[in-house]
Subunit: 222 residues, 2 copies
């Protein structure tokens, strides 16, 4: 904090931007929206919005999530604050970036007229992005990949019940590497964070798999 009063200073704008992750078709993807205004008109960008005065940063991120994606109650955490002076060519804008995770199954089907200005892009084949959004996405991917290895953060991408093989391929999509099945199962069950549901998944022409779920929604560091 500082002793100086703020009146008389020209003040920067403050936004939140969301890096919303999902996994679909075995790819880690982020949500992008098409800009309809200059600058960067018709480029892709992260969903975001200016914070409102009575609203905390977390609340602003939640609001943007509801407004732009139509979901709530997903895992979200603050990522980093980006504030280079020229990141928005119009005026000084500082953005507090958030990561959010959403299971593909939980996504609402977008209305058909809106689908054109919303896309899910694989993180390793991003299109040109507006502002410094590519930098933000890359930073977010780095954080997510790191966090996957020392926490159970993937729960945020899983449906309520799932096969262990689905959990494994979720890990594999995120870290972009293969894992050993037996070791993976041992490690996961050893955490004590999973419980059998008793139900079996009988889909597919093969032996049915036990369905599991997380005991708790809390994120835990291993």
């Amino acid at each position: 904090m500082v002793n100086t009063k703020y009146e008389g200073f020209e003040t920067p704008g403050v936004t939140v931007d969301l890096v919303l992750f999902t996994v679909n078709e075995s790819r880690l993807k982020v949500m992008l929206v098409k800009r309809v205004e200059e600058p960067f008109r018709s480029d892709w960008s992260l969903p975001g919005g200016f914070i409102e005065l009575g609203e905390s940063l977390d609340a602003a991120a939640q609001r943007v999530l509801v407004e732009k994606v139509g979901v709530s109650d997903v895992y979200m955490e603050q990522l980093y604050t980006f504030g280079k002076p020229k990141r928005d060519p119009r005026s000084r804008v500082i953005t507090v970036a958030y990561i959010a995770l959403i299971p593909w199954q939980s996504l609402p089907q977008p209305a058909s007229e809106k689908i054109i200005d919303l896309t899910w892009s694989p993180v390793d084949h991003l299109p040109k992005l507006a502002f410094d959004h590519k930098e933000i996405v890359n930073y977010a991917v780095k954080r997510l990949r790191a966090k996957v290895s020392y926490s159970n953060i993937v729960y945020g991408l899983m449906p309520k019940q799932f096969r262990l093989s689905e959990l494994q391929s979720m890990y594999e999509c995120i870290i972009d590497d293969k894992l050993d099945k037996r070791n993976f199962r041992k490690r996961m069950l050893a955490t004590g964070l999973l419980k059998e549901t008793g139900k079996k998944d009988t889909a597919g022409a093969h032996r049915p798999a036990m369905l599991y779920q997380f005991k708790s929604k809390e994120i835990v560091f291993l």
Copy 2:
């Protein structure tokens, strides 16, 4: 980013606040400055300041460091952004908090007339702090303690050359726990980040110790 223009919105103030760590008298300490104005007049607070329009967040943090502490070229990283609506009772202020590390030996001696409004407080015996600064400090301590265990971030607190026993007690002060001498030395030397200087520290009535230094100033994750 968002499509809406920002003109016409009442905008929040944006500051940077510094959690500046050092270790002295075997205690992990943070720098605090006494407030001279309302609100929280004569309470302790973190050094900070409003960002200027042409200035990046990192640059603002550097500037505050130079202005308030009189040092530069120290390890610094962005910590987190705090933005609860009522954290400043006067008006909406969002603060981007930074961590900085400085070896005690590198601190300039404060001019005697200023010393009264600057103090170094052990992190586990903080006085009452202005705004939400206690929350910020606690978050910073958590981050520092975690990071110490998986990186060589302590280099930021060490003088150029040091005995391994000094390095060990630096770790011990930060994590507030004792370490085994032989295991510590093995682990540190195994990182390959240290090199012998060839010099010995002959101070003290005992066997002289080899002086070491870090090969590089880069922070490395182990």
